[in-house]
Amino acid sequence: MIVYSKSIGQLNISELDTARKDKLPTLKTLRTVNLPLKSMLRSLSFDKQSKKLACGTIDGNVFLFDDIESEPSGQKLIYNHNNNRVLCLAFVPGKNWLISSSTDDTIHIWDLAQGRTIRKLPVGEPVRKFVLIGKDHLIYTNSTGNIFSLDLNNIDKQPSIVYSGNEHQSFQTLAYNSSLHWLMVSRSGTLSVFSINPEDVSIISSNQFTMKHESQVYQAGFSPDDNWLVTAGPDAIMLWDLHDASDQDIEKLVPIVIDNNRQIFSIAFDEQSRYLFAGDDKTLHIYPLDIKDVYTRLRYKMGEKELTLQEWNYYVKGNLVRPDRN
């Protein structure tokens, strides 16, 4: 199931139609759900176990859907971030919590069982992205380039600094790979990877990808199987194959580059890590991760003809120059 919002105050619940072997998958809308208040969505989070979905809006509302797969979905407004946009949302596995950050400079922890806020942590500036390391730690960055950790077993304790940025340049986004124990952060076009000890969230080592993006990277994420990393900026969406990656050869990684010339607002993988979804301001783009499969489908579609390089670039690598097929 794919949940996204393309209209104000509305959620689209769709699924990927992959039935036709000779065609690229298409998005099939199952139904649309209207939010109780008409507002533009800024963040979404889904809890696989409970089937709960939370969404945050640009005017500070956080809505909770008890079961997004059923109808009615039981949506309700649970709290508001002082009318400031909700930047990031996440369910904490095993704790039955929902955590949100906002431009009101707070991190809000909501206990779903008790139905109340259990911690409103002032963080001094908006936290655009945070990640959870298991159920025990929440990691976020700020404009000084520091990386902070909030102990979720002791939420009244102040967050601790796990990495001190000395360049006074902020990180734009971060992502966590639970298999490799990598914390990936982006600063301008540079991606840095910290090897992290998940027990006490201490940084063991840090590595840097060679700068690949020509623009700032605002969106990044690891696939559910931890075999792919995606980074997205207005210049390109880059897919990093981590199947054989280890700490030692990070710098040697070469991404698959998908051309892009728009601001990317969200990025996600499907549960089986077979497709990548990238949402810009108007369109939800779907990129299959199995390039061989795409190639086979395209060949089938083209009547078993071999694809030219131009066609390959157009269909697979997102080059927008339509190939001339005479």
């Binding site: 533009m40 946009r85 655009r128 020509e214 900026g233």
Partner: protein, 357 residues
């Protein structure tokens, strides 16, 4: 001493030859815009905003730029503010953009973010100061309050018919709120009547009368929408000054004399309304183009009955009750009329200034 003199002369000469075009430090906002656009397209919205800041903070730096470029600068600032999660500033810049590109909503850029479009929907650039040139027609609706005829013109039946008159005017309208405006103008127009008499001796004669006036309307308008096509309701007062040559009686007030179409009968007309004031109610619609707008205006002008004027005729049953010293005593018919009219006008509006609401 000679040396000091030489130094002073040298200093003065240097000062005199300093070019006088030295100005305070200015920012080339056009070039800043290009740099900022490049940064924005690379996702560096913070940096784009930093580069635009001197242009956004000091409007003097924008002086030499076209409205289109100024609009682009504020558009980029708004988009960058959205990307840096600062919707308050973004909305402020959207408003400033509309001040320079008030028609932007009609030519939205492909790359505009959805939130930017939402902000655009919330604000409207409306012509706030405009000059309007109007032309149209006036249809009087008049009735005779009282009438008298001398023994020769003794009316067996009479009819007062209205004829269409003209109307020309110029006005200035200013918006006082998003939907509310005040307009003051100057209009000149004529109200035409035709008075048909059939007398007791089988004769028939017709008086054509045209009452011309200059009017100073003060109108309040309430616009029902804020789109390009804006219907409105209007109401106000109208100062009126008659410009036809008239006579005045110390007892009965101002009156007009007019000959019948045959030229041998004379009609005296008194107006039973307040001379200088009437009230106005109406409706219409405006359609905005880039710099001009068109307006169709329909107004109903209601004159107010002047009871003191009417009461002067309370004891007048016929010519015998009028003093022969009155000049109009020798005319054939006397009418005391009350008139109101409907004006339909078309206006061409030149929009001088826009305001963002």
């Amino acid at each position: 001493m000679k040396k000091i003199k030489r130094i002073v002369i040298l200093c003065l000469t240097t000062v005199l030859f300093i070019p006088f075009n030295i100005k305070g430090q200015t920012t080339d906002c056009s070039s800043n815009y290009e740099k900022a656009l490049l940064l924005y397209n690379r996702g560096m919205s913070d940096s784009a905003l930093r580069i635009l800041q001197p242009c956004l903070e000091n409007k003097r730096n924008l002086n030499n730029l076209s409205d289109r470029t100024k609009g682009r600068i504020f558009r980029l600032a708004a988009l960058s503010s959205i990307m840096t999660d600062n919707p308050v500033d973004a909305e402020k810049y959207v408003r400033q953009m509309l001040e320079y590109q008030h028609n932007y909503k009609n030519s939205i850029n492909e790359g505009d973010l959805m939130e930017f479009r939402l902000m655009l929907d919330r604000v409207t650039a409306i012509p706030s100061l405009k000059v309007c040139f109007t032309g149209g027609i006036q249809i009087p609706f008049s009735n005779i309050t009282k009438q008298y005829s001398n023994y020769q013109a003794l009316a067996e039946s009479s009819e007062l018919n209205s004829g269409i008159g003209y109307l020309f005017g110029i006005s200035i309208e200013t918006m006082v709120a998003k939907r509310l405006s005040i307009e003051i103008g100057a209009e000149t127009g004529s109200n035409n009547f035709q008075y048909l008499i059939k007398n007791a001796y089988g004769g028939q004669f017709t008086y054509h009368q045209s009452i011309k006036s200059i009017e100073i309307p003060l109108i309040g308008r309430y616009y029902l929408t804020c789109n390009r096509f804006r219907p409105y309701l209007a109401g106000g007062i109208d100062g009126r000054f008659f410009i036809n040559s008239s006579d005045k009686s110390s007892t009965y007030g101002k009156y007009w004399l007019s000959n019948d179409s045959g030229g041998d009968k004379i009609l005296t007309t008194f107006i039973s309304d307040f001379e200088y004031l009437k009230i106005v109610a109406g409706a219409g619609a405006i359609y905005d183009l880039k710099k001009y707008s068109f307006r169709l205006d329909v107004k109903y002008n209601q004159s107010l009955n002047n009871k003191s004027m009417i009461s002067r005729f309370d004891n007048i049953g016929g010519y015998s009750d009028i003093s022969p010293t009155e000049k109009f005593y020798y005319t054939d018919n006397i009418n005391l009329i009350s008139y109101r009219n409907l004006s339909i006008s078309f206006g061409l509006i030149y929009n001088l200034r826009y305001k963002v609401f």
